[in-house]
Every structure is written in C-alpha cells, then in structure tokens.
Amino acid sequence: MESIRDKVAIIGMGCTKFGENWDKSTDDMIIDAAYEAYEDAGIEPKDIGAAWLGTYVTDITGQMLARPLKLDYIPVTRVENACATGSDALRNAAYAVACGACDIALALGVEKLKDSGYSGLPDFELYRRQLNTYRTRTYSPPGHFAMMATKYFEKYGLGPDEGKRVIGQIAVKNHHNGSLAPKAHFHNEITVEQVVKAPIIAWPLGLYDCCGVSDGAAAAIVTRADLAKNFRSDPVYVKSLQISVGPLEGYMNPAYDWVHVEETVRAGRAAYAEAGIRNPREEISLAEVHDCFSITELVIMEDLQFSPRGKAPEDVAAGFFTLEGGLPVNTDGGLKCFGHPIGASGLRMMYEVYKQLQGKAEQRQAWVVRRQDAASALSSSATRNRSTEGDPRPPNHPSSEGQERAKMWRRGSWRFYFGLPPYGFHFHKKRPGPSKEEYLSMLEDYRRNLEDEVQVVKKEIEEIKKGP
C-alpha cells in the first residue's frame, strides 16, 4: 500500500475572523478565505484544478463554492463528515494532487450558524436519523460529551469539583491562547473559578467547558510536494492524513468505556505509523485537536498517546500543553475560544499549524517550535562561513561541541496533519527540540562566534583603511 507521506504540500492558506459574523454572508466568508489563500500561495483563481467544499449544514452541492468564486467549470465536491468536515475536504484535495489528477487543489470549509437565531447547533435530528429511528435520545451535543466527563471522573476517582477543576484548566489555557489570536471568536482570559462557577449546560459541563458556536471559513491550497518550492520557500509538507469512522456502537455496546474515543485512537495510530512517529509525546511538537468540550481535549490527550491513560490531568496541571509547555495544544484557542463553525474547523486547525510552522503565529508562537526553528537557523548560520568556498575571510572558530549540537537540530523536519470524525486534528513533527540548557549553551556559542566574527571584520576594516 502506498502512503501519502511527502507527496503533498500546502502552499497557501486563508481564514476569516471566526465569531458572530452578522455582517458577513456565507459567500463573503468563502470569498475572503479563498482569496487570502490564493494570495498567500501566489496563484490566480484559474490555477485551481479541482476543489472540495466542506460544510455541515449551511448548504448543499459544490455549486455553493463555484457560484461565489466563479470557478471555471472545474470539479467541485461537497464533503460532509460532521466535525471532521473541513479536515476531510483537505484530505480529499490532498489525495487528488497526490495521484496527479490535478496540480493545484482548493479545500475550503465554511459554516454559517448564526443566521439561525439559535444559540446552539442546528438540527440534530439529522444524527437521530442515522440510527434509523425517530425514537431516540433527546440530548444535546454537550450532554453527549458530558457523559464522558461523568465516567472519566468516576473511573479515575476525581470528585465532581476536582474533575471540573481539571477540565477547567483546559478552558483557561485555550482562552489564554485565543486571546492572542486576532481572528478568534473570543479574546477574554478566564479563570478556573469562572469555569467552575459558570452556569451548568449539561452536568458536569458548564458554559466555559463548551466551545463557541460561530460563523467562519478557512481554506487551503495544496499541490504536489515536488512543485511546492515553485510557489514559496516554506511550504508545509503533509506527512500523513488519516481518518477513522466507527460504527457508533458506544451507545449500544457495554464494551465501550466512555473514557476514550476509539476513532481517535485508531486514526492517531495510523497517522503515527504513516509518518514514522514512535513516541508521540516526545516527538510531536505541537497539536491542534478537537476541543468541542473541555473533556474532549482531556480524553484526546490520552487517545493520541500524549499522556498515559488516566494521567492527562497531571499533564494539564503541570502546564505541559500550554504555549510554554513541552507539547503546546490548541495554540490559537481551539474550538473553545477560536470558535466552531463546523465545516470550517478542520481547516482552521490546519491554518494555525501552518502559521506556527512558518513562524508567523506572532504572540502565540509556540515556544517549542520557535526554539526548534531558531536552533535550525543557528545551525545554518554556524556552518555558513565554513562551507562557503572562496570566502576570503578566515573561518571563525566556534567550539566544535556547539557546532555538533547545532547540527543535530537541522536534520529531519517532519510535518504532518490528519483528521477524523468526530475529531479532526493536525500537527507536524520535527526532531525533538533542544532542552532549555542546551539551547542557552548554543546561544552562548553563537554569541562567541559572532564576537569572533566582529573582531575579524573590525580587523579587516582597519587593514583596508591602513592600506594604500
């Protein structure tokens, strides 16, 4: 079986402001996201060979995309896969370019939820119909995930207050990250006290445990990996795209334990295998995951092997998933704070990963990624002069130890993405970054190198001045 690894690259992305976009129509958001992506990729609309549109309930058919963008009779397919809709649109576009059916494809996700007049999600009778009966549950989406929280607390011996504080820290973290993301739905910081004391939506989940219901759109331009550098110097390469769809048997099979999501486990495992990841906790630098509810993010941390079973609360408490932590998660605020226009969310997650990898995440640039990128840059810089043939200047003299260390981080930059219903998620992979001490020592080496170089340059200047 062939793999999609290293065959596809993302060369442009766009994302609208998420939120209650009263003044933007679905078409407005489609156009804004698509043209930002065109511009970012440096392409013209006519360069698009095929398109995939992800939307959950806003409208039907590919014409929904072709009409506002005036696409030129190219193939357009509407994709719907619940909360993984956007991720799946990207997956389909990536497969198309990987197989050579077209050179450049557009994946665009959009949702217009706030024209409905409801504060919640639209008609979930759609879900009920999937069970082929009208005599089914009457619960809301938060109710469904709250059942996971109830069981998680019970299984791992967390009292209701203790459990609410654990998941509350996830909401606090995501609001902090979102406050640094200009396009996020919300920009307010919150405290654990606020989360715990908020009105109950579906016990034990309160208002701040639930994601925003938002309008928004996000888009990606993908091309074959071998063409990517023609468009930009820093494309993001796809290492894996995996999706797992289960038979929804948790509702009827007592074997299901309510403290994990089998689809997430399976898709994660498949993606790691495709990308060559052996130790996700150590090897993954950054993750965007589907935090529709705070409990969902907690469980995903275990399903994706970031934390051992039952241990995610310890990692949450230790700040492991914060911007400054060992594995930053949902650096843009996630669904919680960035918002959840269903069909757009998967592509919005990819947008954040893309910006982080390009070092364009501004105030919320993840420390681990920044450090790795800096380390790579340092290693390039430290070796530059030595490798430049014909350079009249004498080679500088960094410590050989520092140079070797710097070289370590230069190799193998792995980046990948995958998604699945009900969770789409995306991340990239690089060699593990240096520890803080190693990094400081590298900087010291670099400083010494620069000082040496300054001395060399000063000397050269004086020699030239003294010269005839």
């Binding site: 619960y139 809301s140 938060p142 009827m252 007592p254």
Partner: protein, 475 residues
C-alpha cells in the same frame, strides 16, 4: 365461573400538594395531595404500566381482547387500545376497543369483557382504565382530580375473584361534562351534582343490585364505591348501610385525588390486595348512570396478587416542588420555546417500520456469538454475522447506569433532561432518557428499570418510546 384472573394498578410517582395549588391562587388550602402524571405520561402510558403490572407471568399472546377505558385518551381519532396491544406484544388478531364518554367507561369495559368471555368470543380480556383529567386552574376540579391507572384481566381459568352478578342503569343528566370543544372538565352547581347526580343514582343502583341478588350490605367484606371525594363516599356508604370503618374501600382521595375512570379499578385493586378466599366484594361506579359488579373472592387470590401493590405505589412518591411545574407539565401556560432548532416532525412511515424496536423494546440476540443488542441490528456489532438473530426483549430487564448527564439543553418539560447509558447484566446497552428521578440520586451503578413514556408531541401526533427510571420500590 368468569372473573378476575389477574389485576394490577399504577399510580404515577409525582404528587402535588393541594396546599401548593392553594398557595398559588391565594385561597384556603384543602387537605391532601393529588397524583400527577409525569410530563411524559398520559392515559396510554399509565395503562401500559398498569397492564405490565397486571400481566406479570401472563403470556400476552394468550389474551383474546384488550379494552382501553378513559375519558382522556391521547387521541380523539386513533385507537389507544391498538397501541397498548402493540406495546404489550399481544397477538394482532386480539380484539381491541376504546371505551370512553363517562367515568363508567372502566366498568363498562369490564362488563363487555365478561360478556365476551361468557360468550366465548375471547378466552380472556385485558381491561385497562386510566385517567388524566384537567380541571380549570383555580377551580375545585383542579384540586380534586388525580391521575392513575389500573388493569384487570377477565377470564375463566385460575379466577381469583368470580363475578357473580352485574347491574347497570343509565341516567341522562348534565352534571359533570366536557364537550368536544373543551380541554377542561366542568361541573354544574355542586349541590345539584351531589344530591341529584351521584347521590341519587349510585345508591339507587346499589340497592337495586342487592335486591336483585338477594344480598344485604352486611354480606360484603368490602365495598368499592366510586365518589368524587371522601365526604361524598362516606355519605353514600352510610346511606346504603355500609360500615365506614370495616367495609368501605378508601378511594385514596387524600393521597391521589379523584382518579375518574381509573378510580373503580384502582380501588378494586386495593380491595383485592387485602381480600381472602370467601370474601364478597361489591364494586359500583358512577357516570351518567351506574354500573354495579358483585364478586366472590376465591382461593386463587393469593396467587394473583401483583408484584406492585397500590399500597406500594402510595408509599413511593416524589412531591412536585411547585404549582408552576404542574402548569408546565400539563401545558397550561405558554412557555418561551428554547433557543434551539425546533424538532422536525417524525415520519409516521419510519415510526411504523420501527414498531418492534420502538414500541415493544425488542432488540436482537446474535445466534452466532450470543450478544444482545438494541436497537435491532442486521449485522452483529461483535461478530459481524448478517441476519442471524433471535428477537430479544429488553422491556422487563433491569440494568445499571454506566454513565449519565443532566442536560439543560436537551428538550424536556422537566429540565435538566437526565440522559443515561444503561447496561444490562445479560448483555446489551440502551442509551436513553431517564425519568421519575431525583437528579441528586442519579449515580453510576444505580439500578434502573424500563418504562414506556411519551417522547414527543410534534405536528399533531405523539411519539412514544422507552425511558429508564430508578427501581420503584418502597424505601
């Protein structure tokens, strides 16, 4: 030798204190409480509950007919008896009929059942009587009406109480009535109703019966006289010469109120629970006439005592905390709809296809791997065998809560909507709503039983399904 071969009552869990109603309207508080059907109960679901209690150990396929009696059928046109028969899993060739029009509908149905068995048109007939009447807010009927149901199985094999004689009289009078244009029951001036309605006709009918059978009041160990309240019951009993302390069956006016069509059958169930072989019981109901039934209790009475007694139902209750909640449950005040998408109208076609799963709570059990599953599948969720299943009913099984949530966004007239996953020890899991629960008591591992309830009313018809509830047992 035709008579009662099985019986069982049902009283909803909830009670509303009359003082609570009085408080809302600023009037003097009468004594007692009334039984109130939960927001998801009606005469149909309460009949199912009573019938299931009555039919413990009886094969529903062996029953020849089902009569539903009530003045509060959920439908004016659409037969409730047919729905109940389907829920109980009765043979489709069993004769079904709805009896209505007066509070005598229950005893009308018993008389018709007796005739059917005696004429051998049916081997046994299940009679379900249920009531869920509305009095106008701030009126005396609102104070007195209560909700309940009871069922009796009439047959001629294994009879616990033989029906020796029946007497009936009809009587045209406008005393208590509800026209086809009204949601509420109305009564003419109370003294006219008391003295020239119930107070005239019921004693007349009982006296005529005694004369016809050559019996006197002292021949009866228990007399079940239906009456709108305890005072009227006492007055009529005294006038007929029954001893209030020893002979007259309480109609539970203080505990559950006047339960209308259900009252004669609920009171009869209570009387039979405390009867022994050799006892004679008289049952008399009123409503545009009177029906009187004379019964002799036999040896089988001990065997047919239901698992859930009226005494047990009276002892297990939850108080409705406020009159507003009662108004909401009965739909008596317009409520701002939730800010969520309105429910789509269900498809009667899909509902019809789904009758086995939806109405009888039948799932399947895999012939290859033995896994029980609900709803019915065509491909086994464990071994993937296709179409190799046996029918498997979950209705009478108890399970435990695997997990739950109290969902404030879920649509319910009794928020929060408690949603649970129920695991059954013999296999299978059903994710459903929980009803008749105190949210504080809900926990993982709590034992629950299944109960048939109204799920939705959209577009002019009701959808019913099963929910779970805590085991209803006296504490």
């Amino acid at each position: 030798m035709t008579g009662i071969i099985s019986y069982g009552g049902y009283i909803p869990l909830y009670r509303l204190s009359r003082a609570e109603i009085a408080k809302a309207w600023g009037v003097n508080a009468p004594q007692g409480e009334k039984a109130v059907a939960s927001h998801d109960e009606d005469s149909l679901t309460m009949s199912v509950a009573a019938a299931r209690n009555c039919l413990e150990g009886v094969d529903p396929k062996s029953i020849g007919a089902l009569y539903f009696a009530s003045t509060t059928s959920p439908y004016r046109e659409k037969q409730t008896a047919a729905t109940i028969a389907a829920v109980l899993g009765m043979d489709r060739e069993a004769f079904t009929a709805d009896f209505s029009g007066s509070l005598r509908a229950g005893t009308n149905a018993i008389k018709a059942a007796l005739d059917a068995v005696n004429s051998e048109s049916a081997s046994s007939v299940l009679v379900c009587a249920a009531e869920c009447r509305l009095g106008m807010p701030n009126g005396s009927n609102e104070m007195s009406f209560g909700d309940a149901a009871a069922a009796v199985l009439i047959g001629n094999a294994g009879v616990g109480a033989t029906i020796d004689a029946t007497y009936t009289v009809s009587d045209e009078i406008i005393d208590v009535y509800r026209s086809d244009r009204d949601a509420f029951v109305h009564s003419w001036e109370s003294r006219f109703v008391r003295d020239y309605g119930h107070g005239r006709v019921l004693p007349e009918a009982v006296s005529a019966t005694l004369k016809k059978c050559d019996l006197s009041p002292k021949d009866f160990s228990k007399t079940v006289l239906c009456a709108p309240d305890s005072r009227q019951l006492a007055a009529v009993a005294r006038r007929l010469g029954f001893d209030l302390q020893t002979q007259v069956q309480d109609s539970f006016y203080a505990q559950i109120g006047d339960t209308g069509t259900a009252q004669p059958l609920v009171s009869l169930a209570a009387a039979l629970e405390n009867s022994k072989a050799g006892d004679k019981v008289l049952l008399a109901s009123y409503g545009n006439g009177a029906d009187v039934i004379v019964m002799s209790v036999g040896e089988e009475i001990e065997r047919i005592k239901p698992k859930r007694t009226i005494k047990g139902y009276l002892e297990t209750k939850l108080m409705i905390p406020s009159y507003q909640k009662y108004l909401r449950w009965r739909g008596l005040v317009p409520i701002e709809p939730p800010a969520t998408a309105p429910m789509e109208q269900p498809s009667p076609v899909a509902l019809w296809r789904d009758n086995a799963s939806g109405l009888t709570l039948h799932g399947v059990k895999c012939r290859k791997c033995g896994t029980a599953q609900y709803p019915a599948q065509r491909v086994c969720m464990v071994c993937s065998a296709r179409d190799q299943f046996d029918d498997y009913s979950f209705a009478e099984r108890t399970g435990t809560i695997a997990t739950f949530s109290h969902d404030n966004l879920g649509i319910s007239a009794d928020p929060p909507n408690t949603i649970v996953a129920v695991d059954f020890p013999e296999g299978g899991r059903i994710t459903c709503d929980m009803t008749d629960r105190d949210p504080e008591e809900v926990r993982i591992g709590l034992p629950v039983e299944m109960t048939f309830r109204q799920l939705r009313y959209i577009g002019g018809f009701y959808t019913y399904w099963w929910k779970c509830r805590p085991l209803r047992e006296p504490k």
